[in-house]
Structure formats: C-alpha cells, structure tokens
Symmetry: C2
Subunit: 434 residues, 2 copies
C-alpha cells in the first residue's frame, strides 16, 4: 500500500488558522511572578505597553499581513487558562517553593483574558499599543512579540519548497547541535532558555529546548517558557523585568520618590518572594547610579542580572560593589541574559570561573538563529530587535535608560530628564543586534 494518511493530508491542505499562541502560559515565567505582585500591590495602576522595533530598516508592516496579525492577536485574546494549567501552577514547586502563587491570585487568573489591542500602521511599521490596567496589559508583552516574530518567519518561508524547508531545518538543527557540543565542554555551566519572545516559531523553540535537555543535561537549568516547563518537565525560570522600576519611577511624585523607586520595587518584590528569586536587575536607570545609591540590604540579595552592560565589564562592576559592601562574591549569583551566544557564554564563563556563581539566560541566538541555514539567502529570517515596553503609567511617560544608550526607551525629553537625574556615568554605546 502506498502510505498516505489521506485524512491528515486533506486536513493539512484545507488548513485554516494555525494559531501561534495556543496557551496563556506560553509566556515567560517572570511575567507570572510580576503579575502576582502587580495584582497584589498595584491593582489600580494603568499601564500602556507599546511595540518598539529597534531594527528600523525592517519594515514590519510590509513583511507581515495585517489581517493575519489581527487573526493571531484575536486568537490569543480568546484563550483562558485550562484546568490542567491551573492545577499545575497551583501544585508545582517553583524555585524550591510550594504554592508560590496565592489561591486568591489563581482564582483571579482563572478568568483572565488578554485585553484589547490598538493596531495601526505608520511608514511601514506597526503601531501596537495595549491600554488598561497594568495587571491586564502586562501579559501581552510575550505573546505579542512571539506572534510578530513567528508571522515574520512564516512570511519568509511562505514560498519555500518542501526540500528547501527540509534543508533549512536540517542545517538549523546541525548548527544548534554544534553549540550544544561546545557548551558541553564547560564544567558546572548553568544555562537556561530565555528565547520565547524572539523565537523563530513555537515548534522550533520546543525542539531547541528539548535538544538542550538531552544535549547538556544538568547544565540546562530550565526554560523561561511556562508551557514548555510544564510539558517537558523542566524548571520554570525567571525573576523580574524593567517594567517594575519603570512604572514605579513613572508614578513618583517628587525627586525623593523617583530616587527611591528602584529600591522600593525590590522591597515590594521581597514581600512576595525570597531565596533565589532575590535577583536585582540594576540597569533600568543605569547600573552605576543604582549601585551608588543602593541601601546596604541590597547586598544581601542572592544576585544581580546585568542586562545591558557588556557581560564582563558589567559583572566586574557588580563584584567590586559586593566587595566594597563586604560580601564574598563566591556566594553570589550573576545572571547574564543580554544578546548572548555561545562565544559570549564561554568567554564570560571562563572569565568569572571560580570567582562568582553564574547562570546564563540564552535567548534570541538560541531560538532564532537561522543565519546561513536557508539554501538561498533570506534576509527576513534574521531576527530583529523587537521589544514591547511599558510606555505610560497612569498617564505619565515611562522611561528606561539602561547601560546602553541605544536601549533607552521613552519620550526624548523625558529620557533627558532621567539622564540629568540619574547621571550618564559609565553608559557605553553598543550596537543592539537582538
């Protein structure tokens, strides 16, 4: 018998919508941790999230069909958490802690749906905004980015033949496995997947995550993707993001509140979480300013996540500060997560080996590295620097400075005001690739 599953074939060729986001927990774990804090401490705050394409040379509105984009966003809005997901969130142990999510929070989450979106086009780019309560809008960040990135790769592959696609993925798998083999050589390495938002596609991220699980074993410490953590029995990893200090700073009514904002956020966080979740993200308004004004207790936190300074430079600065505060860095943790690939992971690991505990959050270059894989060159398979940032809180503009001026977000005059306030010390211009 000539083997063809006729039913599957008919189904595949009368395909309607192929949803990119099929679960509300197909998102980063830190969004859930932050969501619980926002729900508990800032339930009435409004926050607008906005799409920002830093790779302005790529005209997203020309590459991605608006109708398809709306279909995908609408489908994501139709999702609720499933019973299985609710039970898993309630029953699973995260960071060694049971019931990290309060029953009241889970009750609220059980009926949660993504809020409305505002989509328009301007000079070849999409203007995408999410208005509403912070605890509603914050959950759009990851699905919105994953949808746009996957629609972009689908468009890039739309006209490829069956063998072109077969070779494309074969090469991508071979390329990925070479990275696995290089990482294997590092004793005691700790790497986790941070690639959800920038992934080529959900299925490809799943392949990469499962390849790491088999390929580097215990060195693979988990994935930020909650759905993949559940399905592949991995640790869900992640702590907090810039949106917390950005919103709290935007809400500040005076200079004292603004100066206190980055530390108030840590206190807020500490009311809900402890242990390995006590990770400082220092660069929202510049790491130097943060360390200069940091209260003594910040040095008691488990670790830091330098997210925009060059890893070695940024790490050294934090280690110096720990020493200055009389803490032994060897007991501390540094989490690197900014545009890493294998070379940067290996160099950074070798540089700090034995001096500090380290963990690497591997993102775009893990789940969306198809450079040189397509039989013919396809520019639109190259990942872009696309983010979805909080732009307003209770009607006030939100700002991020970061240690790399090119990663700053917010209205120019407001960015200037923050720079005058927090200072420009040690900010280093670096190309932002992803």
């Amino acid at each position: 018998m000539t083997k063809t599953d006729i039913a599957s074939r008919v189904y595949n060729h009368t395909w309607k919508l192929d949803p990119i986001i099929r679960s509300l927990i197909d998102t980063d774990f830190y969004k859930l941790l932050m969501l619980q804090m926002i729900w508990k401490l800032y339930p009435t705050v409004d926050a607008t999230f906005s799409l920002i394409n830093r790779t302005t040379t790529v005209r997203l509105a020309d590459e991605i069909d608006e109708h398809e984009l709306r279909e995908q966003l609408n489908h994501a809005r139709s999702l609720h958490l499933t019973k299985k997901e609710m039970i898993w969130l309630a029953g699973n142990t995260f960071y060694g802690r049971k019931q990290i999510f309060e029953p009241e929070f889970l009750n609220w989450l059980a009926t949660y749906q993504l809020p409305e979106y505002e989509l328009s086009r301007r000079d070849g780019q999409y203007e995408l905004h999410f208005h509403g309560r912070w605890m509603e809008t914050t959950m759009w960040e990851i699905p919105a980015l994953a949808i746009i990135n996957e629609l972009r790769s689908r468009a890039a592959m739309r006209h490829m033949g069956q063998f072109t696609l077969d070779v494309l993925y074969a090469r991508a798998k071979a390329k990925m496995w070479e990275k696995v083999e290089r990482l294997r050589t590092l004793q005691g390495l700790r790497v986790s997947d941070f690639g959800t938002r920038r992934r080529h596609s959900f299925l490809w991220q799943r392949w990469c995550v499962e390849a790491l699980k088999e390929g580097i074993g215990p060195a693979f410490t988990g994935t930020s993707n909650v759905l993949l953590a559940m399905d592949s029995d991995l640790e869900a990893v992640g702590t907090n993001a810039h949106e917390l200090p950005m919103v709290v700073a935007a809400l500040a009514n005076n200079d004292d509140e603004l100066r206190a904002a980055p530390y108030k956020v840590l206190k807020d966080w500490n009311t809900l979480y402890g242990g390995n979740l006590l990770i400082v993200l220092p660069d929202a308004f510049g790491t130097s300013a943060f360390l200069h004004d940091a209260p003594e207790w910040v040095a008691d936190w488990t670790g830091f996540r330098p997210d925009s300074a060059p890893p070695i430079e940024g790490g050294e600065k934090i280690i110096d500060w720990w020493r200055k505060m009389g803490r032994d860095p060897r007991g501390k943790l540094l989490i690197f997560s900014d545009g890493l690939d294998v070379d940067a992971i290996i160099d950074t690991y070798r540089h700090f080996e034995g001096r500090v505990r380290m963990s690497f959050g591997w993102g775009t270059n893990l789940t969306n590295d198809f450079a040189g894989c397509a039989p013919q060159h396809v520019e639109s398979l190259k990942p872009i620097s696309l983010v979805c940032k909080v732009s307003e809180a209770n009607g006030r503009p939100a700002v991020k400075l970061s240690d790399n001026p090119r990663k700053a977000t917010g209205e120019p005059e407001e960015v200037e005001r923050y720079l005058r306030f927090f200072g420009t010390q040690d900010r280093v211009e670096q190309a932002v690739v992803v």
Copy 2:
C-alpha cells in the same frame, strides 16, 4: 523529543495548489486506444466535448469555486507525458500484445498537451466546452470529470475537523472492505476498476485499487487508470466508448452512412486492435436496433459491453442474439459496467454463471461511495451523474440514444430524428443515479 516534522508541517500549512491531475496518463486506458484510432483515421475531424450534469438538483457552480476550477484545469493543461510514462507505454504489454501503440503515434503523443477550454456559468451550473480537433479534445473527458468531482469532495470536506476526517475515511475503508469480503465469495469472478472519472479523489481511488489488489487477488483483473496500472503493476483495461459511433454517425451524409455508422466504427477499430479488445458497445443508438442490423461478422467479436440496459435483461438479449447467429455464448464475454455495486455484481454473476464469460467494470460505487461515512450528513459527498460527452463533430450535432432514455444526450430535435431512424424498441426508463 516531541515528534513533529517541522519542515513538513510548515510546508503543509503554506500549501498553494494541490493539483488533482498530476499526469496525462491519470486517465482511462480506452482513451489512449481510441486516441490512436482517431489520430490515425480521423486526424482532421473537429469534435466538441461538453460537460453535462444530469443531477440538476446539484448546483455545481455554487459548490465549486470557479477560480479553483480554473487553476486545476490550467494545471492539467501544463502537463506533458514524462519520459518514464512514454517508455512504459512503448514497452508494456497491453491485452497480451506488445507495442500496441505505434511509434509514430507515441512521437505525436510525446508533445501532446490538453487544448484550451471554454468555461462559463449559467443558473448555478458550469458550462464547460472543449473545442478543436477530435484527437486533441477527446483527452479532456476524464481529467475534466475527475477535477470537478474531486473539487466537489474537497469543498464538502473543507470545514471538517481532523477527527471528522479521520472517522470519515476510517468508515469508508471499513465499508469498502466489507464489499471486498462479499466479492471474495464468488469463484472465478473478474472485476476491474472503472472509477477514475467519478472518484472522490485520486488518493482514495489509489487506496481502493490497492485494497482490491490485496483483497480479492486474481479476481481483480486490472484498472482503467493508466497511471495506477503503471504504479501498482496492474493490467490497464478498457476498450472503446460511445464517442466513436456518435462522431461517425454525426459525420454521416445520408441514411445509408448513418445506418452503417455503428458497424463502420467496429471495422475501423478492427484495423488497429484484435483479440480481447474486440468488444462491442451496442447501445449508442439502442441495442435492439444495433443487433437487428448487425452484419454476421459482428458475432465473431470477443464480446459485448451492455452499458445502459439493466445488466440481466441486456445480457440475455445479447446471448439470444449470439445463439440466433449460431455462436456458443460460453465462449463469449460480457462486460458489465453501468452503475454497478456489489449487489448488482453478485446478482448478475449468479444469473449468468456457467452460461457466458463475464467481467465487471466497477466505477462510481467503488471509488466514490461515502454514503453514511461522514459523522454528520454531508449531501455534497454524494456522487452525481456527471458526464463529458461529444456534442458536435465538424459542426454537426452528435447524439447518443442508449437503452435508457434518461441517458440520451444531444439536441432534442436531433434525438427525435435518431429515434425515428433507429426506433424506440426495448428502451427502458431507469433512474440514473451515477
């Protein structure tokens, strides 16, 4: 690893055209035999073929998208015979005879393409005509019918879910296998597939043909589908069709030529073919009239194919005629091929067992019987009585009377003229289901 062939999945979900006809030999074998005769003896005759939907309650133009229909017809027009197909046609033995196709004919066929079509809509039906040389237009009959029938089943299945489709085909396979088991009980049965034109789909016909090959073994004597015969190593079967007497009758310049037409066609045929290919199709203008005027030599032919009379009645009439002509029916062959299903095959077989050699050409009810298979009732999965008949030859109207008035084709006044000429004797009204 969660098993998903990402490349195939991406390919399936960016599917463009799924061609229904992928080969010029995805057609009935008798079209090639007739084509060689037309090419040799009637190369300058023009013949128009026209689509006729006898199931007028089904509004084809509402069920099938015109753009899809044109895409499929255009794709069929782009086909040439492949090297492999040419070599097989030249090298294979058909009906025990080597090189049944002349080298000159094959040279001409090597560059053949389907000619233009004329498509329009009228009251919910498609008007589809093929104008041109007979040896060009005749090849449209089977692909045109197969395309429309498969587009109709695709439309019927377009909104079915994966499990609905899975169950649909599971039930169709089970139903088909029950027929196989019933046919197995008949000793010395000879059945072949005549289901190309009315098939649900190409893949489904292939499944049915291969199921018969495994299921009834030697009782399965072949398929009329040349491509399946080549791919599945089966005998290609089929002889001639009504278009031959219809065209020759239309070309008649006087009553004598008209009366001689049905027999002239047999003489023409005999100049190219012999043995088991000497099968008389007697009902073009009524079997009684045909037998009444038949010259003695017609009784020397191998057999008859009664195609519109009820099988038992039609068979008895021919057997009586053989006896009258002093021939022993036990040495003769009757091929039944009109709207058969298992019951009719078994009844007819039992009725004539031992009195005459028999063969059954099983069509629509073999390759398009999904009655009761869809989880919910889908009217449009029911096959319809769709034919593509020669309507004009050198500008003169072509007519078919047949033994069943409901199967008559041609302009009413012309049908009347033929009826006056050949007589209405023994013509029996029967419902035309397929």
